[in-house]
């Protein structure tokens, strides 16, 4: 640093090179120690994300190399293909990892996760986007200052409380009103999940809608457009990438949500994609309910960590996707000549 500064001074004696503020001298020890410590601590988050991946994958990978594990669960293909288990007539997908013959097909868990997540999204995204339209386009400033924190307060409800609510209140209510065959099922879990992700989608969508440049709406109104035309044809399309990012974040949150589905879905590993009233077992609930009872290092333990690795990878990709969508949005607005 000092050498380069000296060289610059020699070259342009009349106009010294600009240096970062507060660095135009040999820094005292306290400054150098502080900077080193801060730089070191800034790496903690990078280190954490790397360690999370390494230590979860580390437990799963031997599954594919250890001969005993191979023998016990039958290889990678066995996790995804149906099999005629002893005592069964046809070949079926079964998740029943404990017992005489451990049966480990991941397909029932994927079906359960997908079913609850998609239902939860169907309930929450339209609701959250509509609410965001109201708060950003119709509410007065004073109403907005009350509504936004109130709806965001919903996001702070711990998921175990939503699980409790789905289990103790919603389940009976829905069984009574809809006449469902069982109290706990995919539908109840999906409604609980929707309560958890709606505030997330709302917050991101509302931010996207409010940050659409006012000039656009003003120009449309000046041309004689009606309010609904401005909202639906100008503001909403302009904010669509932001809303999409919110939905992607909500989807990631939904796939990874544990306590609500663990408590309210009934947890039977059923392969039934289109019946929302049947019980369902998700990837997350499987990890949460089974990890405590397995011996570290055996095949079941490793399969649970494999599920964890898959969750990590899927949410990682969804997160990058959301960032990419938001950046595309920003480029679109900063590329305009007027801004």
């Amino acid at each position: 640093m000092t050498e380069r500064a000296d060289a610059a001074t020699v070259e342009k004696a009349s106009r010294p090179a600009p240096r970062p503020l507060g660095t135009g001298y040999r820094a005292p020890w306290s400054d150098r120690i502080a900077e080193a410590v801060i730089r070191g601590l800034a790496l903690v988050s990078v280190l954490s994300i790397a360690l999370i991946f390494v230590f979860i994958a580390k437990e799963a990978i031997p599954l594919f190399f250890e001969p005993e594990a191979q023998q016990e669960f039958g290889g990678l293909a066995a996790l995804f293909s149906p099999r005629t288990w002893p005592g069964y007539d046809a070949s079926v997908f079964i998740w029943q990892p404990v017992g005489g013959t451990p049966k480990m097909n991941l397909v029932p868990l994927f079906v359960g996760t997908l079913k609850i997540t998609v239902l939860g999204m169907l309930f929450s995204v339209p609701l959250a986007v509509l609410a965001a339209i109201f708060v950003s386009q119709y509410a007065t400033r004073r109403a907005r200052e009350v509504l936004k924190p109130a709806l965001e307060l919903m996001a702070s409800i711990p998921s175990v409380v939503l699980g409790f609510f789905a289990l103790m209140v919603l389940a009976s209510l829905m069984q009574d009103t809809l006449g469902l065959p069982s109290r706990l099922n995919a539908l109840v879990a999906a409604v609980g999940l929707a309560i958890a992700i709606a505030p997330v989608v709302f917050t991101v969508s509302e931010d996207a809608l409010s940050s659409v440049p006012r000039e656009l709406a003003a120009a449309a109104l000046a041309l004689g457009a009606r309010k609904h035309q401005v909202v639906l044809r100008i503001v909403l399309p302009a904010a669509l990438p932001g809303i999409a990012a919110g939905a992607i974040l909500g989807f990631g949150r939904a796939i990874g949500e544990t306590m609500i589905v663990l408590m309210a879905s009934g947890n039977a590993a059923v392969v039934e994609l289109f019946d929302p009233t049947s019980s369902a077992r998700t990837v997350t609930a499987t990890i949460a309910s089974e990890l405590g009872e397995v011996t570290p290092g055996d095949a079941h333990w490793r399969v649970l960590f494999l599920l964890g690795s898959l969750l990590f990878v899927v949410t990682f990709v969804l997160n990058r996707l959301a960032v990419w969508v938001v950046e595309a949005l920003q480029r679109r607005w900063t590329a305009g000549a007027s801004r």
Partner: protein
């Protein structure tokens, strides 16, 4: 509504308005039953006594104590790392720094990792790798695990990693809100970079940093999935006195009462009361954060 509104205008207004109403109604629908059924069970004994062995009778003091201890330890771990990262990003990182880009991406991804994955990580890394590693180094394996088992220390470190993005993002926002003129004035008086950060920037961002800490505590206090395998206990007749002890936890208590109790109807009042205590805790923490944030924002505007 505006003049000349057509029918479509009204439909959109009514539809979006009812979406807001439905969300608010859901919030009320959660709060009302919890407090109506829960409050009658809450008294001084409930807050200060031990639970009975079936979890139904007695109080929830060990769960309150455990949650407090857990979040306190978590705060001690997460605040230095989180605040330092935010200082690095706003004060030290050069523009278009590649390291800063990587750190930001890591923070962003960390925020999206599912909580159950943190549970796997806490067990695989803290309990089995660090804990068992310490045991292998310091103790005779015949004595059994000392550090290498679920404990309040490992739970709190797991939660510290989980809440790191909350602290970093809020602190960064607070540091950016400190006017650049203040830094210039400090440098103009001959202060060094660290003196400027420690004596000008940080004191001015205090409320914002506190907001981040409060939000992290609120988030950490409510998470259950990461602590199931790293230290939370179903029932413990004593309070944790050591970093290596297990502990009871309000959120875990809610989970245990609602899924593992032999007689659900008998457990119901205690369950609702525990949820009421947990919700009161998280909501009041969030309320503090909202107030702090509003105050920082109005101060920033006043300048």
């Amino acid at each position: 509504m505006m003049r000349g509104a057509s029918r479509t205008d009204w439909v959109l207004f009514a539809l979006s308005g009812s979406a807001v109403a439905l969300m608010l109604l859901t919030l009320v629908g959660i709060l009302v039953p919890v407090f109506v059924e829960g409050l009658p069970r809450i008294d001084l004994v409930f807050l200060t006594a031990q639970p009975s062995a079936d979890l139904v009778g007695g109080g929830i003091w060990p769960a309150i104590f455990g949650t407090t201890l857990l979040t306190l330890l978590m705060t001690l771990a997460v605040v230095p790392a989180g605040v330092a990262t935010a200082i690095y990003l706003t004060e030290y990182a050069p523009r278009r720094s590649r390291l800063a880009t990587v750190v930001r991406a890591a923070v962003h991804n960390l925020a999206g990792v599912p909580s159950i994955v943190f549970g796997l990580f806490g067990l695989g890394f803290f309990v089995l790798f660090v804990g068992r590693g310490l045991d292998a180094l310091l103790y005779d394996p015949a004595d059994g695990p000392v550090w290498g088992q679920p404990a309040v220390l490992w739970s709190s470190l797991t939660l510290a990693v989980l809440t790191l993005p909350v602290v970093i993002v809020t602190t960064e926002e607070a540091l950016r809100a400190v006017p650049h003129d203040l830094r210039l004035a400090s440098y103009g008086l001959g202060a060094t970079r660290w003196q400027t950060i420690a004596q000008v920037v940080l004191p001015n961002a205090r409320a914002g940093i506190l907001t981040g800490v409060v939000l992290a505590v609120s988030r950490g206090a409510g998470e259950v999935a990461p602590i199931i395998f790293t230290g939370a206990a179903n029932f413990l007749p004593y309070l944790p006195t050591d970093l290596r002890d297990m502990y009871m936890h309000l959120g875990y208590h809610v989970f245990a009462l609602s899924t593992q109790s032999p007689n659900v109807d008998l457990a119901r009042p205690t369950l609702f009361a525990t949820v009421a205590v947990l919700l009161t805790l998280t909501f009041s923490l969030n309320l503090v954060a909202v107030v702090l944030r509003a105050r920082t924002r109005s101060r920033a505007h006043a300048r």
